[in-house]
Amino acid sequence: MLPDLERELLRKCQAGNSRFFEPIVRAYERPGMRIALGMMGNPDDARDALQNAFVKTWQSLSRFDLKRRFAPWFFQILRNQCRDALRSRKARFRLEALDERLEMKPGNPEDGPERRAERKAAKKLLWKGLERLSEDHREVLVLKEIEGFRYGEIARILNVPEGTVASRLFHARRALAEELRNAGVTYP
């Protein structure tokens, strides 16, 4: 969405007109769902966290400074919702058969059934590895690898310096490599 258009929509939302919130929701629900799913581990809890984040965003919009960028602010709210949900034990990070409910990134169409089965098994191992990481490590990996944010954006979302993002990424990657090794994955 164009920044000027987004700012105009947010200004109208701040005036209390909820129908201008719909394009904002539609623009951010897909990246939001990817992040929530990465953090929560299952589609139902991810959807709940995403809905709560949008409602919270709407309720806090009057305090939002239109000179700031909306995306990091919204993703920060979403991240807090995910963490709150995980801590309240309503929804613990749990592994589910994601490909039954979600459209996975398409693989190479030339892959045979054997290669597809290998890819599926590798993905399952990765999810299991992510599941075992701490919240701090999992969220920084989700923001970097699944959503592809730059360090500056991650720093704004997590409210930490960029150096901390780099350091956290190092430890998260090392922890994930360790988990994968324990699961039998070998690296050259």
Partner: protein, 144 residues
């Protein structure tokens, strides 16, 4: 030489190198150190391999499954409730004031007042019980 080169590249710089967050000059400096350290090259290769696998894990939610409908009802219903409650209180206040100042007999007023008060007390009791149960209701987030 290997150990020395490893020590001169911080964890943070290694990550910035991997994620393309360095300037060309900083990249060139790390590449020199990489050429000197097989340990560093091995670690970087592991991280690169994992990065590609994680990118492959990326997914997109189902098409046409927007959360907007539920959000709309949640953000508009508080305003609806506020209007309904304010309107009801205004109407009830006006009705009470009109009734009290009407020429009806005092006994009729007392009896009517007792009936209305009784109904309101019972209603408040039901609402209060429901509110207390809501906090511990394990099915409150279950949707059809």
């Amino acid at each position: 030489m290997n150990g020395e080169a490893r020590r001169t590249v911080s964890h943070e710089d290694l990550m910035r190198f991997l994620d393309g967050e360095l300037t060309p000059k900083e990249r060139a400096a790390i590449e020199v150190r990489l050429a000197d350290s097989s340990e560093l090259r091995r670690e970087l290769a592991i991280f690169r391999s994992m990065k590609e696998e994680l990118r492959d894990l990326s997914f997109v939610p189902e098409h046409g499954d927007s959360v907007w409908d539920r959000i709309r009802s949640r953000i508009t219903s508080p305003a609806g409730w506020a209007l309904a409650v304010a309107g009801f209180l205004g109407w009830a206040g006006y009705a009470t004031w009109s009734f009290v100042n009407s020429p009806s007999a005092i006994l009729v007023k007392l009896a009517t007042g007792a009936v209305v008060t009784g109904i309101l007390v019972l209603l408040a009791q039901v609402i209060w019980d429901r509110y207390r149960e809501f906090g511990s209701d394990p099915y409150r987030n279950v949707h059809r």
